[in-house]
């Protein structure tokens, strides 16, 4: 094995294509690599997508030293064949304590993998010493996780090759590149295609081409949809379109321009969802990233319907605003909202219930988000002293309309969840944190609806209360996964979310405190 490695290394290292940044990139920059089907985390996907995801996880950026994600991944993998690495990758470290532990300076953002390798024993000891799973332990674990992923790449294990097609299962058996790309294979290819021995890159590229053609013939080309989806960035352009739409409402006298851009943005979002449905073969609402985008989409739809019904521009503006907020989160908060598509936990694998229960709940959150945006618009108006009694009355009715839609959808969604639980676990209700919190949300809004008929809640109090009530939605939606993180619904757990949620709470409560104090609401 070692001999094979060395010989292959020699085969490659004799030639070197220096790119414009004077790094040898061998065959790694060839475009065919990007579309190669590989298997990672239980799914078949194009190499470009896998490379971008793992690079981003390990180094915080998918491209390094101006080389694209696939090239970087390829060069790192070639280390397994004994080819020295000219790149200088730095594993991401962002926690101060971990930096100190690794002997890093405060302003350094990454560390050479070899340093971690040297200190691995110490780091493991440090982990073993800490009995409580505190944030320091978690952060250290995260860095070690990144290092492990790096190891998987640099030992050639992360890059998988379709080996044998198993016809009865209609799927491939996969094997790591390091055990498939042998010297005899390269020599065989050289002879087969009569490649001039000076062209050292060619047999490798032939190898990849053969593999791709073979896979496409036997298992189909479905995986390439993900390649196009990945390069297309529908939700990025949808954000731009939504922003233009919102601006044009204020700039242009007629609403025609705004309508065109709103429709274009919605269309692009639909394209994004449809592509994700094709790739994952399930409803596009199975993780935080998807539910956030879907709520933004749903909110805009609900807002447009209400706008048509009530002829109130506020709905349109509020719907677009929330749509923009969710798309911004989806595009810029990827540490919290992971856009990659992975397999589902077994309990959730039921497309019928997934698409009915989750869609209803997320749509209800969308409608409640609309009421939340409208409430905050009213509060901002009161700050600017443009909220007179009539305007307040008008906005209150709009908020109430959105809230009603939300409450009806949420009660339907909660019940559908109960029916699903009964159908697949044999119990209608089990006090699981996610279901309990969705019930709390319902109770909070129902309390407001009941209170509205008493003299406890007048419009003056109604508006800030609706803004406050949305915190319960955020708790049920984000808080259960990011803070409570226990129970059967823990499919969206990741870090960073807790900080976001806390900032959200602090910001909203501060706005409400200032508002209460300024407008002299008696509590």
């Amino acid at each position: 094995m070692i001999q094979i490695k060395l010989l292959l290394g020699l085969l490659l290292s004799l030639f070197s294509i220096k790119n414009s940044f004077s790094l040898s990139t061998y065959f790694c920059e060839d475009p065919i690599l990007r579309e190669l089907p590989i298997q990672a985390l239980g799914r078949t996907k194009p190499l470009l997508v896998h490379a971008s995801e793992v690079n981003k996880f390990i180094f915080d950026t998918s491209s390094l030293q101006k080389l694209d994600a696939t090239t970087v991944f390829c060069l790192l993998s070639l280390q397994a064949f004994g080819i020295p690495l000219e790149l200088k990758p730095l594993i991401k470290v962002d926690h101060l304590w971990v930096k100190e532990l690794l002997g890093m300076k405060r302003d350094e953002t990454g560390i050479n993998p070899s340093v971690i390798e040297e200190k691995l024993l110490d780091l493991r000891m440090e982990l073993a010493k800490r009995k409580v799973n505190d944030s320091e332990k978690k952060e250290l674990n995260k860095v070690l996780g990144r290092y492990q992923s790096y190891q998987e790449i640099s030992t050639g294990v992360s890059w998988t090759v379709p080996k044998n097609f198993i016809a009865e299962k209609n799927e491939y058996e996969w094997s790591p590149l390091i055990s498939e790309l042998t010297e005899s294979k390269i020599i065989e290819l050289k002879q087969k295609y009569q490649i001039d021995s000076n062209d050292r890159s060619a047999p490798f590229l032939k190898y990849f081409t053969e593999w791709k053609i073979d896979y496409d013939q036997k298992a189909g080309t479905d995986y390439r949809v993900e390649y196009w989806y990945f390069r297309m960035h529908p939700f990025r352009y949808a954000l731009v379109l939504s922003l233009i739409a919102l601006l044009s409402i204020f700039i242009f006298k007629t609403s025609a321009v705004g309508i065109v851009f709103t429709a274009a943005s919605l269309g692009l979002q639909i394209v994004g969802f449809v592509l994700r449905i094709i790739i994952s073969e399930r409803a596009p609402i199975t993780n935080m990233y998807e539910t956030v985008i879907f709520s933004g989409f749903g909110c805009l739809i609900v807002a447009l319907i209400l706008w048509k019904m009530k002829k109130e521009n506020f709905f349109w503006i509020a719907g677009l605003t929330y749509n923009i907020l969710t798309l911004m989160m989806a595009n810029f908060a990827n540490e919290m909202l992971n856009p990659s598509i992975g397999p589902l936990v077994p309990v959730l694998r039921d497309n019928f219930w997934l698409s009915t229960h989750v869609t209803t709940v997320i749509l209800s959150y969308a409608a409640l988000a609309l009421s939340w945006i409208l409430a905050n618009m009213a509060i901002i108006k009161s700050f600017k002293k443009t909220l007179d009694k009539r305007e307040e009355q008008r906005l209150t009715n709009l908020i109430y309309a959105a809230m009603k839609v939300g409450v009806v959808l949420l009660s339907g969604g909660v019940i559908l969840g109960g029916v699903w639980a009964d159908y697949s676990w044999g119990r209608f209700w089990g006090w699981d944190p996610k279901e309990t919190w969705s019930l709390i949300v319902l109770l909070v809004y129902i309390a407001i609806l009941h209170g509205k008929y008493t003299n406890w809640i007048n419009p003056m109090r109604f508006i800030p209360l609706v803004a406050l009530a949305f915190l319960s939605v955020m708790m049920a939606w984000f808080g259960v996964n990011y803070i409570l993180a226990a129970g059967l619904h823990s499919y969206g757990f990741s870090e960073g979310g807790a900080i976001f949620l806390l900032s959200f709470f602090v910001a909203q409560i501060s706005v409400l405190v200032v508002h209460t104090w300024k407008s002299k609401i008696r509590i």
Binding site: N133, P343, F428, L484
Partner: protein, 557 residues
């Protein structure tokens, strides 16, 4: 007078009626309910599901609150009768809620919610239900000699969060404290034995690591006389052996007497070689005038001559109190030998056995491995360490309890041999045995079981992973159902339960055994299901009617 009382009752009734149906009352109890739920989810996250259930979801006050909500909805609906068309949605919605709550109550009181553990190829009829019981039963056959008053059986444990005194007499076994959540804690117990038996506590540490080692040679102790910490092995040996370790021995062998503690370090001078069975080399000790020899490479036991069919040959014996200690066996890896106040180890750096003296709670002894040092905290001869349940607040981390998973109950029985009453803990982890009034008893905390009129047998369990990973993609049980009528084979997997008679079986979990995978099915019988579904339908229709279809009266400030 009577009219006055009736009048005041009427007045009270009217006030109650008015309050229960009042909107403000509704708002208050809705918010109180939401608050309880929020507390419940936080407790569930930090202390685990069981704690949250005992503290909130299945506690009496919470049940009472739900009953109050039911009453409030009922009264509010009745107050809005007779029928008004404008309130049609309201009636349907609230009737739906009442139906759901009633259905849930039916499920709670008359339903079955349990689990069935299926070992591979072992038929079973038993379903574990939710509530736990203390099960005590006499084990031995001597039962007939005792009066028939002995009843084996089970005692329902109270559904509480805090330690509770049960105080119940059961065939003269006293059932005392019950700890719903506890951990084992170390306690020093007085030794019954007349001879001194050593037990000790050491502190072992280096710059990154610190651990307390509790070691005992007492038979009844829950602590062993050896322990391992990573690559380091620690052995707690009798103190009489220590003097031998201070002497040098060219052969690296010691011989010592279990009874007197006398020990001899062996070298070429005080030993001689003789031949044993088939010319095997054995070693005798000159200073000991005993017909005894040793084989250092084979056994710590002495060899003696015996006669069989007129042939003399050598065998090992446990009857003589002498044992051989081969130091060579402790040289290849880091081994720390502790003798109470003395320690010994093999130092690889200078290829020497070294010894050090320790005084209780005084100095640290440096060890030749990774900067480790050791200290003696405690050395006793009339006590020994045991593990005793201590009540704790449970702690959950990453979805699993890291503390408080032990449920324990204290029993007091009569030990005929000792002639006194003794305490013992029955737990949910393993059954304890004790001799009460001369009879062997067994006690354990376990789930209440229900026996089904048919049996299930797991013929196969299948688990599929996501391709190329260890993440499970599906769990599937293939079960054979056996009963008089309609036996059959069934396939139970996620979202595909098995329905038989009134019961439904769902794939819940799995475990590994020596014979392959076992499976856990949850078993469910829900007589309230119809009402919950009907109520849900009414609720959805009603709220749609009330909030969406109804011509809304514009709300004025």
């Amino acid at each position: 007078m009577q009219t006055f009382i009736t009048a005041s009752f009427k007045r009270m009734g009217r006030t109650l009626w008015k309050t229960l149906g009042h909107l403000k009352f509704a708002v208050l109890i809705i918010l109180l309910f939401a608050l309880c739920l929020a507390v419940g989810t936080i407790l569930e996250s930090n202390q685990g599901t069981d704690y949250a259930n005992r503290f909130v979801y299945k506690s009496f006050p919470f049940m009472a609150l739900q009953a109050l909500i039911f009453l409030s909805i009922l009264v509010a609906t009745l107050q809005r009768l007779p029928w008004r068309k404008s309130l049609a949605g309201f009636y349907v919605l609230h009737l739906g809620l009442l139906t759901i709550i009633s259905g849930s109550a039916v499920t709670y009181f008359f339903g079955v919610d349990g689990s069935m553990t299926l070992y591979p190829k072992v038929p079973t009829q038993k379903v574990d239900l939710g509530n736990e019981q203390l099960k005590i039963f006499p084990q031995s056959s001597v039962r007939s000699t005792m009066s028939s008053s002995i009843t084996q059986g089970s005692l329902d444990l109270p559904y509480v969060v805090n330690p509770t005194l049960i105080d119940l007499d059961w065939s003269q076994i006293k059932v005392l404290d019950f700890y719903p959540f506890s951990d084992y804690a170390k306690e020093w117990k007085k030794s019954d034995s007349s001879s001194p038996i050593p037990s000790a506590e050491y502190q072992l540490q280096n710059s990154r690591f610190s651990e307390t080692l509790t070691l005992s040679q007492h038979r009844d102790s829950d602590f062993q006389s050896s322990s391992t910490i990573g690559p380091l092995s620690v052995h707690f040996l009798p103190g009489q052996l220590f003097p031998c370790f201070t002497k040098s021995s060219s052969l690296g062998l010691l011989v010592w007497n279990l009874q007197t503690g006398e020990c001899i370090a062996l070298d070429t001078k005080n030993t001689s070689e003789i031949s044993g069975n088939e010319g095997k080399k054995l070693m005798t000790i000159r200073s000991l005038a005993l017909p005894m020899a040793f084989s250092p490479s084979e056994s710590p036991l002495p060899w003696v001559q015996s006669k069989k069919e007129n042939k003399i040959f050598w065998t090992t014996t446990e009857e003589l109190p002498w044992r051989l200690f081969n130091k060579k066996l402790f040289e290849s890896s880091p081994q720390l030998l502790l003798f109470g106040e003395g320690i010994s180890y093999y130092n690889k750096n200078n290829s020497q056995w070294e010894t050090q003296q320790l005084k209780t709670n005084s100095s640290w002894a440096e060890l030749p491995w990774m900067g480790f040092k050791v200290k003696l905290n405690k050395l006793v001869f009339d006590q020994y360490p045991v593990n005793v349940p201590r009540p704790v607040k449970p702690v959950q981390e990453n979805g699993a309890l890291i503390s408080g998973a032990l449920r324990a109950i204290k029993l007091e029985y009569f030990d005929l041999e000792a002639g006194s009453r003794k305490e013992i803990w029955a737990t949910n982890q393993s059954a304890v045995k004790f001799a009460h009034n001369g009879i062997l008893w067994e006690a354990t905390i376990a789930k209440e079981q229900k026996v089904l009129p048919f049996e299930l047998r797991l013929s196969k369990f299948k688990m599929d992973n996501d391709p190329g990973t260890n993440n499970p993609a599906s769990y599937e049980s293939f079960v054979a159902l056996r009963e008089e009528e309609n036996p059959g084979k069934h396939h139970v997997y996620m979202n595909h339960p098995l329905k038989h008679q009134q019961y439904t079986f769902y794939q819940a979990s799995f475990f590994q055994t020596e014979d392959g995978y076992g499976s856990v099915l949850s078993v469910n019988y829900d007589p309230g299901r119809f009402w919950k579904y009907l109520g849900s339908l009414l609720l959805v229709l009603g709220s749609f009617w009330h909030f969406v279809l109804r011509k809304r009266i514009v709300w004025k400030a």
